[in-house]
């Protein structure tokens, strides 16, 4: 019965995801050769390789399975293998803890997925995607809404949408860095694949509120993710929070696509989905790159705390360049790839607003503005990250003794950094390809959407049937060329002028010595944000003075923290409630076998009496 073509699907969407998985994982695999060296014993290294292999295969299975059973088995396998990676450094308590949080939450998500799958299965009596698709279109509205919500929660948990993001900043940083890059870059994207596959393809979109709900969740994810990232000083956790943010941006495209489908604007839906998919692959690349760089930095310095780094640009010049490229991309700076997808997403919002009425326009505009805010905050966050980690003077002994990493790690980073640039400059051709993917997924003829390969001219006549509008332009190669030429001109001018240049100490206000203790810290950098967003972060600080006498303070310590809102107001109460309930349940579990037998016996007797009644 097992038939290859019946259980696997290789449509453009799957192929796109296979591509995403393979590029990031191959770079990460190359990187891991150097990363694992000198850090683990030989058997653990072998174990890591085997797990990596299984992990990648399971992800490939997830995106190619055309059968509910294949899908769910691969999905579970993926979760389990990644759990092993989270607890890979099992000697640390926090690894075990992170693994616990991860495995529990991921299974709660899977439970929701299973519920949705069972409901779908009940309609179709088949596991095959095509059959499911036909059956789902006959389902009543109410059922479809329920299935949609279940799917959203289930996949949202894996993707890390707020408020189900809670596991992500624990689990991702705890895994070895090359795995963090795969988890953040690729694994959470499989949830997006699931959403597209099950909601667009199988379930079919009916109500506009689906799209709007996804948009709202996405906006919240963006903002929450980036604000928490700003507050974070653990470099890998910072990146993990940025994954929450970027998943939000991807979902903006996807949610907009849902909305347009339900509004019967197929071409715009294709376009919005293109924006989402473009950001998906971009995020896979640059987040993969950033995690690899973070891994290099952590390996070189032996710490993940940014406040202990600094001045690494002189000690690790290659890593610094790669990290800068990644940081520019994630901050959506032209001419790199993050800029293109953010531009496309904003355009999708704008074009959508042209085609809707009244309040929806304002809503879409505000969504776009929030996306812009996210972009600004992300840029601030990466100025902080790059500035504190790589610039100025080393802040500790760890950073002082850092050395550049080995060739294989550099090679892994180089591949992804090159891809960042390529995906920026070749935006036109990539958008063309993505239009094919997205049009095939939505079942729309995409050939009407023509974009020239060098310009991203949005041909509005093709995109929309009725309303007025004029084309918008963006050309990445020309833009890059313009920037480079102008920069080169000024460089030449500077060189021709040839003024005397001398090197001296940083200006110290006449103070005798400026050291690394005078530098701005990450905490200080993020202080304005902490205060501006205090309505959400609830920052508090502790000060402690050690006095010799009333007049002489010998030591002074200052700590500042932010309140983890979701943990404190959502998860802790939930946990407390569950524990209370469990304690109640424990009362009927005294440990006596007789009592347990009596429970069963009583149930049987009751059943018999119950049957006798009817």
């Amino acid at each position: 019965m097992f038939n290859l073509s019946a259980n696997f699907i290789f449509d453009p969407l799957s192929i796109f995801f296979i591509f995403v998985i393979l590029i990031v994982s191959s770079a990460a695999a190359l990187y891991s050769h150097g990363y694992l060296k000198n850090a683990y014993t030989f058997p653990r290294k072998v174990f890591a390789w085997v797990l990596l292999l299984i992990f990648v295969c399971s992800m490939l299975l997830v995106v190619t399975g055309s059968n509910l059973l294949v899908f769910i088995i691969a999905w579970e396998l993926m979760s389990l293998v990644s759990y092993f990676f989270v607890v890979f450094d099992f000697q640390y308590n926090r690894s075990i803890q992170a693994g616990m949080i991860y495995i529990v939450i991921t299974h709660i998500g899977t439970a929701f997925l299973l519920a949705a799958f069972l409901m779908i299965y009940q309609a179709a009596h088949s596991f095959d995607f095509i059959a499911l698709k036909d059956a789902c279109h006959l389902l009543p509205m109410q059922t479809r809404n329920t299935i949609f919500l279940l799917l959203l929660i289930g996949f949202g948990t894996k993707a890390g949408i707020v408020p189900m993001h809670i596991w992500l900043p624990y689990a991702h940083p705890q895994a070895p860095s090359h795995i963090s890059s795969i988890m953040s870059g690729v694994m959470i994207k499989t949830a997006i694949y699931g959403m597209i596959r099950f909601i667009f393809f199988i379930l079919g979109i009916t109500s506009p509120w689906w799209g709007i709900l996804v948009l709202i969740l996405a906006i919240i994810s963006c903002l929450v993710g980036v604000i928490y990232a700003l507050m974070e000083h653990d470099i890998k956790k910072l990146l993990a929070y940025h994954s929450v943010e970027n998943i939000g941006i991807i979902l903006l495209g996807v949610g907009l696509g849902m909305f347009f489908v339900s509004m019967n604007l197929p071409y715009l839906a294709v376009f919005a989905l293109v924006a989402g998919l473009y950001h998906l692959i971009n995020h896979a690349i640059f987040k993969g790159l950033l995690f690899l760089c973070a891994g290099s930095v952590c390996k070189a310095t032996g710490t993940r705390n940014m406040e202990k780094m600094g001045g690494l640009i002189k000690r690790m010049p290659h890593t610094a360049v790669y990290f800068l490229i990644g940081a520019m991309a994630i901050s959506a700076l032209p001419p790199l790839n993050g800029f293109v997808s953010e531009w496309l997403t904003l355009q999708a919002f704008f074009l959508g607003a042209l085609n809707t009425l009244g309040g929806t326009k304002v809503f879409l505009g505000i969504c776009a503005a929030m996306l812009a805010l996210t972009g600004g905050l992300a840029a601030a966050c990466f100025v902080k990250a790059f500035g504190i980690i790589f610039l100025a003077q080393p802040r500790s002994q760890y950073a002082e003794s850092a050395r550049e990493v080995s060739w294989s790690m550099k090679a892994g980073m180089f591949i992804l950094a090159a891809l960042v640039i390529i995906f920026g400059l070749a935006a036109g051709s990539i958008v063309k390809l993505l239009i094919k993917v997205s049009a095939a997924t939505l079942g729309v003829d995409g050939s009407a959407l023509n974009l020239s390969a060098y310009n991203l001219t949005l041909n509005l006549q093709a995109l929309m049937p009725g309303p007025v509008g004029k084309d918008s332009y963006l050309s990445l190669p020309y833009l890059a060329a313009l920037l480079v030429i102008l920069g080169a001109i000024f460089f030449v001018i500077y060189r021709l002028a040839k003024r005397k240049s001398l090197t001296y100490k940083t200006w110290d206000c006449g103070y005798y010595k400026v050291g690394s203790r005078n530098e701005y810290t990450a905490t200080a950098f993020s202080k304005p944000f902490r205060i501006a967003f205090s309505f959400f972060l609830f920052p508090y600080h502790k000060t402690q003075k050690v006095r010799e006498s009333f007049y002489h303070v010998k030591a002074f310590s200052y700590e500042t923290h932010t309140t983890p809102v979701f943990k404190k107001y959502v998860y802790y109460p939930l946990l407390a409630w569950i524990l209370k309930f469990a304690r109640l349940l424990r009362r009927i579990q005294p440990g006596s076998i007789h009592l347990y037998l009596a429970y069963i016996f009583a149930v049987i007797i009751l059943l018999i009496m119950f049957i006798n009644k009817f």
């Binding site: 005294p590 440990g591 006596s592 076998i593 007789h594 037998l597 009596a598 069963i600 016996f601 049987i604 007797i605 018999i608 009496m609 049957i611 006798n612």
Partner: protein, 211 residues
């Protein structure tokens, strides 16, 4: 003829319920198994099924001879007191058992709408055996009583199977016999172990192990 065997089963079961010592319990079980053997033999004769003869023979060998023998041996080996340890005293137990009998009868008469009266009786008694077996497991403290209770339940299931469909498929039946036998052996050794470690076989006291 069949009625007599059935009544024999009933009575021997009641004997087990009122038994206060382990030896009496096992004796009751032996009688019960014996009457069950007779009933099976009669069914086999009536329906002229050779496989049922074999099963009846196995019943005789294993449940009437071997298992009680084994249980006796265990008792002798672990030198426990003869007391069963009752949660529910014998009078009250008898009252409960009568209630079960009523329930089982009520249930089986509903279950068999078109079946013969005699068959309804067999099903009622089979169900009754299951319930009593369970009741013995719940209300007796020592671990050996639990073993016997399980065996009684198994007897009930056997009776039900042979009454409704003229016995389960032959191989299944054989497998079940071996299963039961092996399980008794294993449980016996467990009881022996428990006794060795805790110097008693009161299952009730296992609750002290709870964390």
């Amino acid at each position: 003829m069949q009625e007599i065997t059935l009544i024999g089963i009933l009575i021997s079961t009641c004997l087990m319920v009122v038994a206060k010592s382990l030896l009496a319990l096992i004796r009751g079980f032996r009688w019960q198994s014996f009457f069950l053997f007779l009933a099976t033999f009669l069914i086999a004769w009536k329906e002229a099924q050779p496989s049922l003869y074999i099963i009846a023979g196995l019943l005789l060998v294993i449940k009437v001879v071997l298992i009680p023998q084994l249980l006796y041996k265990i008792i002798k080996k672990i030198k426990v007191g003869q007391g069963l340890g009752l949660f529910v005293n014998t009078q009250l137990s008898l009252f409960f058992v009568l209630l079960f009998a009523y329930l089982a009868w009520d249930f089986s008469s509903q279950l068999i709408v078109y079946g013969s009266h005699a068959q309804a009786g067999i099903i009622a008694i089979a169900l009754f055996l299951v319930l009593v077996g369970f009741f013995l497991m719940v209300s007796r403290i020592t671990a050996l009583a639990q073993v016997v209770g399980l065996l009684v339940m198994e007897n009930g299931l056997f009776l039900l199977a042979s009454a409704v469909s003229g016995g389960m498929p032959f191989f299944v039946e054989i497998a079940i016999f071996f299963d039961v036998f092996v399980s008794v052996v294993i449980m016996g050794s467990f009881v022996y172990r428990i006794n060795k470690f805790f110097t008693h076989i009161d299952v009730d006291k296992l609750s002290h192990l709870r964390g």
